[in-house]
């Protein structure tokens, strides 16, 4: 630690500035971007095979397998295991992709949390739960929802496959520094209003490209009051506002979550790490390029109605008129919805509870609170897909799986599942789903499928009523 005088003279920095500056291997010049060091590279089966091929074609090896961690989640089945305890991967393409990741990890010495392992799960769920994700780190993955890890005060962002190859080979990336965007959330959330509603409310306000070119920092009392799992939900969807990343300064909530996790620092190293992490918070008066304020108390449960995550209204609201917007007209036509009408009471076919946005234990607890003592409505299919094997075990230890099963919902193995519909879990054409995932793009959950994004509470309420429902009516 510097002495007080040195600190007083140092320019005020944001959390983002501090993490960025600490990872610059070679500064930007007028002709070249900065070279940035990557502390943790997460890898999955879908966006990595071509990157490993690029390395092989050039005769390069993986520079830091010890800073690389792999899992399989996107194309893996979530249907129950066979009698032998093994998963069956019926899709030959998915099986080939899974086999290629296994071979690549074996050849490079990269630790792999493989299908069937106790620690397997969605990459953005297992990173935090294993204690791999820590404050102040740079984290990348060939997946846009890498922004999730920013909940710990890490600088975490999604990259394309060429950059996956760059990081595998050099542990570095070339990057121009994004601008900063502070979102202060004042007040506190009302009962029945969740982190998902907060982030959907923000994206509805600033738009799906509203934070392009920026790194978001979420601040204020309503953010400080969130649990780590709730913070992950918020940061997860930063990319849906177009942001490069979303960050929250680490605090006692962060440290309490991390303490004792398998990869977290231990004993003396823990105290030193916490002392270091406490210094990451943005300094008073640090410059930010943009600011936005949100009043948490004014937020309602939110639900999307269109075909991008910014098209959201309060669950009790009415659908907007296109007013000459061909894009909104097209979205409402795709969704089969009538402008000016409420969404409340609209019938639905499928409910999906899971994903890197809302597939953690607290999400399942909230959903179970609605399902308890109720039945999934006739004609509705409800899938509950835990985010990881660990989440699954914890949920089962609490009896949540029984609550879901007794209500008539399907209790699945972990994976991305119907969020991205690569593994056979998909929405049929024209059908409506209320989904706790992050994207309502056309066909995202299956070609022709229609997605309403919402919180686990709203999703569970829709499952038991068969209609879009204000979950607060079902909460005691």
């Amino acid at each position: 630690m510097n002495d007080g005088r040195t600190e007083a003279r140092a320019p005020a920095k944001t959390l983002f500035d501090k993490v960025w500056d600490a990872h610059v291997v070679h500064p930007a010049t007028p002709g070249t971007p900065a070279l940035l060091y990557v502390d943790l590279h997460l890898v999955h089966e879908v966006t990595s095979p071509q990157a490993f091929r690029m390395l092989r074609e050039r005769g390069l090896r993986v520079r830091r397998p010890d800073r690389t961690v792999a899992t399989m989640d996107h194309s893996t089945p979530t249907t129950p295991r066979g009698g032998d305890g093994q998963f069956r991967v019926d899709d030959p393409e998915a099986a080939a992709q899974i086999a290629e990741l296994e071979a690549n990890c074996r050849a490079s010495g990269i630790p792999l949390h493989a299908l069937g392992d106790d620690s397997q799960g969605i990459v953005h769920v297992i990173g935090p739960e294993l204690g791999l994700t820590q404050p102040g780190l740079t984290v990348v993955c060939g997946d846009s929802h890498t922004s999730t890890h920013g909940a710990f005060g890490a600088l975490a962002f999604g990259i394309g496959t060429s950059e996956v190859a760059h990081v595998l080979a050099t542990q570095c990336l070339l990057a121009a520094k994004p601008k900063s965007f502070a979102v202060s959330v004042e007040g506190s959330l009302a009962p029945g209003v969740t982190a998902k509603d907060l982030i959907l409310g923000l994206i509805a306000r600033i738009g799906t490209g509203g934070a392009s070119g920026h790194v978001l920092e979420y601040r204020g009392p309503a953010i400080r009051a969130l649990s780590m799992e709730e913070r992950m939900t918020v940061c997860n969807m930063s990319i849906e506002a177009g942001a490069r990343a979303g960050m929250i300064a680490p605090d006692d909530t962060t440290f309490a979550y991390l303490a004792g996790r398998p990869h977290a620092p231990r004993e003396g190293a823990w105290d030193a790490a916490v002392a270091r992490w406490r210094g990451l918070a943005s300094d008073d008066g640090a410059y930010v390029d943009r600011e936005e304020r949100l009043d948490a108390a004014a937020l309602e449960p939110m639900i999307t109605y269109g075909t991008n995550p910014g098209a959201a209204i309060p669950v009790r609201g009415t659908l907007p008129e296109p007013n000459g917007s061909p894009m909104l007209e097209r979205a409402l036509e795709y969704m089969g919805l009538t402008p000016g009408r409420p969404l409340l009471g609209h019938p639905i076919d499928v409910v999906f509870i899971g994903s890197c946005t809302n597939g953690r234990l607290s999400d399942l607890r909230q959903a179970a609170g609605i399902f308890a003592g109720r039945k999934v409505a006739g004609g509705v299919r409800a899938l509950v897909v835990p985010g990881s094997q660990q989440v699954k075990r914890q949920a089962e230890a609490e009896g949540l799986d029984r609550v879901f099963r007794e209500a008539g919902a399907e209790w699945r193995e972990p994976g991305c599942s119907m969020c991205i519909a690569m593994n056979g879990d998909r929405l049929e054409p024209g059908r409506y789903a209320v989904s706790t995932s992050n994207r309502n793009f056309e066909g995202r959950q299956g070609p022709g499928g229609r997605t309403f994004l919402a919180s686990p509470l709203t999703a569970a309420a829709a499952a038991v009523t068969g209609r879009i429902t204000d979950a607060r009516e079902l909460m005691s």
Partner: protein, 192 residues
């Protein structure tokens, strides 16, 4: 990487905002392990019906798309997933440039690494490109010549421009910094 200097081509127009990468290449086509064959799946759900027949109204199925090297799009093109497959699909179909109002960050970075030029124009110029009309893109001069001869400026960051103009591969450039990377690792070997 294939060089990009100038491109004179007809444009195909997809005049929509917020076109996401799930539309450009739907997730069910991401199960391959190579970059090949994705051009045939470009915009699959907009281009083909449930039975796999071309939808006649969709731009890529219209005659003016044949041989078009540039796709004219709206705002925030390529939002959503980080899948580089979206860029491989556009390149596989034959596009060398996307001309729009703005691009999503990850898509833009992916495009630049694959010789697909993301050209962001000011609305006054963008609005003057008729679908099917011919444009010339000059990367060195960072100018796009409209059908009426007007030169519309655009901007590509210097390093990406250099790589495209000279066919330089970014990975080779990063590898040339080996000494700096090793020094950084030695200085930070205690973690974090």
């Amino acid at each position: 990487m294939q060089r990009f200097r100038t491109l004179t081509t007809r444009t195909a127009a997809l005049p929509a905002d917020n076109v996401d990468t799930d539309q450009i290449i739907p997730a069910r086509f991401l199960k391959g392990t190579t970059r090949d064959g994705l051009g045939e799946r470009l915009f699959a759900d907009w281009r083909f019906d449930e039975a796999g027949r071309p939808r006649p109204g969709f731009v890529l199925n219209r005659p003016e798309a044949r041989g078009a090297g540039a796709l004219l799009v709206g705002r925030n093109f390529g939002c959503g997933s980080s899948r580089e497959h979206a860029v491989w699909a556009l390149r596989g179909f034959g596009f060398r440039a996307i001309v729009g109002l703005s691009f999503a960050d990850i898509f833009r970075a992916n495009a630049l690494k694959n010789g697909l030029l993301p050209v962001a124009l000011e609305p006054e110029f963008h609005g003057r490109i008729a679908p099917g009309s011919e444009i010339t893109i000059d990367l060195e001069a960072q100018a796009l010549t409209l059908p009426d001869g007007t030169r519309a400026p655009f901007s590509i960051e210097p390093f990406a421009r250099h790589c495209l103009l000279e066919g330089v591969d970014e990975l080779d450039f990063i590898l040339s910094h080996e000494a700096s990377i090793a020094a950084f690792e030695r200085a930070h070997s205690q973690g974090g």
